[in-house]
């Protein structure tokens, strides 16, 4: 394949990479956009957790007893223990006898419930320098310390959120690599798109719905792509950067691992935070006192704040230290201004005041993607940006189909209809799967399998949408779009309304109550968005159905496709 000019090469890249990876990118953008409100979707999905966000609770009274009840995860133990344990030192330590090495807790200004975790140490590790931990993670009610039952699936933060960066394909982390490749090709598509689009600024505000269908689709594609160009570019790039050291560019875990470990130990000896356990047992002093001291120190520097992240390293050892991070609610960086105390007596070890510029830059870039800050307008703007991304990809698909459908119909090729069926699954199918999951969440009975059933219903609805697209694909009539479009959009409007209704019936939190009587914006917000979605889908479905019926009247299916081309092109 030879290209006449670099511009042709760019067009080729944009078309084909955009088409193939567009399906993945659609998932990333749509569920990424939903993740902006992941905590709110969690509240909607788990009615028992519908109460106000809580600050970090008392460590001594609430967290420590909760930690002491936790046991290493069975599945992780089975998988990792044989890899970590040195068989020469004797038999493996049983799961519930593993000693504790670290505690952590993380919360944001939007969390009523608290995520906590324990890292258990492997007593006889194969590699002594590595971070040999078997974990236990859970979510507790910070008011009482009671565990939130595991069967309650956090649809927002444990399903939609990981879906947008790992596709929830756990096997060999393959989902992360697919998304990484798609994100890289998103960057390629953006640069090549700008290269192709010569009138970037002249046509910045241009959308001409009255022109030909092909032209207006292209206008919309350019508009949605260009107006949020910095957003699209930086979200794809920062997504890559967030996982760079773990997955995409693991230089310091592979090739430079010796240097990494040597420098880490050196740094620990310089800043006074012990890198290793000493082997001398020591009790843990009151962490609450350390938290008070940390808050006093922050206030002294004119940045009073709450605790966002708390971690105790080397638990039970003389080298134990407690790290307290300030919640970055008013900053872009997630957490910061760490203050470290000696665990055994609570004396101050280290205050991390100033970061090197490059690390601040990194915190800004990852923080702008992970957005744990408190800024509701920006959150809505992000949702808008994400949906613009979806619109851009979807119009890209439509342009691809529209451009080729007459030729394909004439030549008896199936290509554009295949793309149409896949595009259906990636546009309306995503919405259908999401809504079906929400409705299922409200209707499924209590039980251990509840979480799994919700996931299966999500996947089932998605697959059904794809199959429906294939069944309804019409190869013989190039002029009209698949009837599956308006049928699925009708279904979307029904399911969205049903979700609001079932929430009102099963929990009693109808909009009147969540908006006026006992305001609870997290649930009210999800309900309102669902209602807007239902309304928008109804209008769209009516428009699409009308257009489809007009196309059917204009073009009788009994005629050969080639005879219809002139009528359809108008």
């Amino acid at each position: 394949m030879e290209f006449a000019s670099p511009r042709h090469a760019m067009t080729w890249l944009h078309t084909w990479l955009g088409l193939i990876f567009g399906f993945v990118l659609m998932v990333c953008f749509f569920f990424g956009a939903l993740s902006v409100f992941d905590r709110e979707i969690d509240r909607w999905a788990i009615p028992e957790t519908r109460f106000d966000p809580q600050p970090m609770p008392s460590f001594d009274q609430v967290l420590l007893p909760a930690y002491q009840r936790m046991q290493p995860d069975q599945a992780e133990y089975d998988r990792m223990m044989p890899l970590y344990h040195d068989p020469a030192a004797g038999p493996m330590t049983p799961r519930n006898e593993l000693p504790v090495d670290e505690y952590w807790a993380y919360t944001t200004h939007r969390d009523p419930v608290l995520q906590i975790g324990v890292g258990f140490r492997v007593p006889h590790p194969l590699e002594s320098v590595g971070h040999n931990h078997i974990h236990a993670n859970t979510t507790i009610d910070p008011r009482t310390g009671d565990e939130v039952p595991n069967s309650a699936l956090k649809i927002g933060s444990d399903w939609f959120y990981p879906l947008h960066y790992s596709l929830n394909l756990e096997w060999n982390s393959v989902g992360y690599y697919i998304v990484g490749l798609a994100a890289f090709f998103m960057l390629v598509a953006l640069v090549s798109g700008i290269w192709m689009h010569r009138k970037l600024f002249r046509e910045l505000f241009t959308f001409r719905p009255w022109k030909s269908r092909l032209r207006s689709i292209l206008d919309l594609h350019n508009l949605t792509g260009v107006v949020a160009l910095p957003f699209h570019f930086f979200f794809a790039l920062t997504g890559l950067i967030i996982f760079a050291s773990t997955f995409y560019m693991p230089v310091s875990d592979t090739l430079l691992k010796p240097l990494h470990e040597q420098q880490e130990a050196l740094e620990a000896s310089q800043n006074g935070l012990p890198h290793e356990r000493s082997g001398i047992p020591a009790p843990l002093a009151s962490v609450d006192a350390m938290v008070l001291e940390a808050k006093r120190l922050w206030a002294e520097r004119g940045m009073a704040g709450e605790v966002g992240f708390l971690m105790v390293s080397h638990v039970g050892d003389a080298n134990s230290f407690v790290s307290i991070y300030r919640a970055g609610s008013d900053r872009v960086a997630l957490v910061g201004e760490a203050i470290h105390f000696r665990g055994s007596d609570g004396s101050l070890l280290l205050q991390e005041l100033d970061h090197p510029a490059v690390e601040s830059a990194n915190e800004f870039l990852t923080g702008l993607h992970l957005q744990h800050f408190e800024h509701w307008s920006l959150r809505w703007l992000y949702l808008f940006g994400g949906l613009l991304g979806c619109a851009c990809i979807a119009t890209g698909f439509l342009f691809f189909i529209e451009k080729r459908k007459f030729q394909h119909a004439r030549e008896g090729q199936f290509g554009s209809r295949l793309v149409e069926a896949c595009a259906l699954a990636c546009v309306t199918g995503l919405l259908l799967a999401t809504l079906a999951m929400l409705v299922a969440n409200r209707l499924l009975p209590e039980g251990d399998q509840r979480a799994d059933w919700q996931k299966w219903i999500f996947c089932g609805a998605w697959l059904a949408s794809l199959l429906h697209g294939f069944v309804r694909a019409n190869t013989h009539n190039a002029a009209r779009a698949s009837a599956a479009w308006y049928e699925q959009v009708w279904l979307i409007s029904i399911l969205a309304a049903l979700a609001v209704l079932t929430n009102a019936i099963t929990t009693g939190d109808h909009l009147l109550r969540t908006l006026l009587l006992e305001p609870y914006m997290a649930v009210a917000g999800v309900d309102l968005v669902l209602l807007v979605c239902a309304l928008g889908a109804t209008l769209t479905a009516r428009y699409l159905q009308r257009r489809h019926e007009q196309a059917c009247q204009r073009v009788l299916p009994s005629q050969p496709a080639s005879a219809l081309l002139d009528g359809g092109a108008a």
Binding site: F205, V227, H375, L388
Partner: protein, 109 residues
């Protein structure tokens, strides 16, 4: 309360600025004014300058509302939102924008 005030100001300034920038382009100027566009001069430079200043002021309003690191993000996202809104008004309801031009003309004369 203060934050909300500055954010709303930033939104409005950004939207107005974007509309002026759009009107500096002959196509959109004609779209809004219709046949009237043929009478009188099209003040391209003035519109561009007004738009740029409005965008700048909106950046200042963002800075007044938030920590600078956050203000940058808000400004960039507002840029996207108002460009999109401007394009949508221009294609569906261009006549809504006539008052904005009148204001410009008054200040000019």
């Amino acid at each position: 309360m203060n934050t909300a005030f500055w954010l709303i100001t930033a939104c409005l300034l950004m939207l107005v600025g974007m509309i002026w920038l759009a009107l500096a382009k002959p196509v959109h100027w004609k779209q809004v004014l219709g046949a009237q566009a043929n009478y009188g001069r099209h003040p391209v430079k003035a519109l561009q300058r007004a738009g740029a200043i409005s965008l700048l002021l909106s950046a200042l309003a963002c800075l007044a509302a938030d920590h600078p690191s956050m203000a940058v993000l808000v400004w960039i996202m507002l840029l996207a939102l108002s460009t999109f809104i401007t394009a949508m008004i221009l294609s569906w309801r261009p006549h809504w924008l006539q008052p904005l031009i009148t204001v410009r003309r008054l200040t000019q004369s």
